[in-house]
Amino acid sequence: MKRFTIIILTCLLTAMAAMAQKGLNINRLFDGRYKKAPGATEIIVTGSQACEIGLDVYHSVSVTDKTQAEIIENLVVKDGTKAMDKEVEYRHGQLYYGFYTMPKQRSSNRYIFFLNQNLARKSPKNVVTLIYMEGRASADKIKKLIRK
């Protein structure tokens, strides 16, 4: 019976570990709140389609609501403090552009992009974009992907 209990516990822990959260602050934004929000766009791509662009996960959110934009920026900046590598640009005290390489998780590289187009010099737009990417692709490969 003891052996039986240990087997069940091991299985449950394995299953829980497999479904564990990614441990980033921005994950709070991917709880489905933007799926029905007006002025928001959320894109989720995993599996074979994500493989086509060399990733395992592509998850992005674009919002026009300024309050939401602030929330997103704050969470991105918070995650940015744990980044292994980052390229950021602030304009007027606000984050304009950010590319963060986050610590690996289960041998997957993780990247966060942030762009506040309100702060663009050329044709600013009322859009804030957050992109989370996960996969084996290196930071250089991701940059190449962006510049395609």
Partner: protein, 154 residues
């Protein structure tokens, strides 16, 4: 036992049983009687009683022990099978869950669902273009800063 003649009929066996209960049998006859009761196909009230008195309890205990051993083996097999079934179920569920959450290609635009792979991938390209433009702006800024510094040093 070698001195004892094999019993050839049911009647002869019943007579031997009677003699046994009267305490008139020899050791060899008792041994032969036990052997006969264990193996012969005959059945009558006397024969069955003798079987009960002379051998049933021993045989019954042995049978119980065998059944108990078989029972515990069966329980062990059921336990192992149940463990394997649970492992397969949990593993299967995890794989299924991973598979379900694996192939997703969807976008939500102003509350509207977009499920066409081509449209979603085009939206991704658009996202990446915007990021690229911002990154280029940053690079341009850096290079113009570099050029300004070079000019200043000349």
């Amino acid at each position: 036992m070698s001195n004892y003649r094999p019993i050839s009929s049911q009647q002869e066996l019943e007579q031997l049983i009677e003699r046994y209960f009267d305490g008139m049998t020899t050791v060899e006859e008792e041994a032969a009687l036990r052997h006969e009761l264990a193996h012969c196909p005959w059945s009558s009230e006397d024969i069955d009683d003798a079987r009960v008195v002379m051998g049933y309890f021993v045989t019954h205990r042995k049978q119980q022990q065998r059944q108990h051993a078989m029972g515990s083996t069966r329980q062990r097999i059921i336990g192992i099978a149940a463990s394997i079934a649970i492992i397969l179920a949990v593993g299967g569920y995890t794989l299924w869950h991973q598979q379900q959450s694996r192939d997703i290609c969807v976008a939500y635009v102003n509350g509207q669902v977009v499920q066409s792979n081509d449209q979603v991938m085009a939206m991704i390209a658009d996202d990446l273009d915007r990021i690229d433009n911002a990154a280029n702006a940053m690079t341009d800024q850096l290079s113009s800063l570099g050029e300004a510094l070079e000019l200043d040093n000349e």
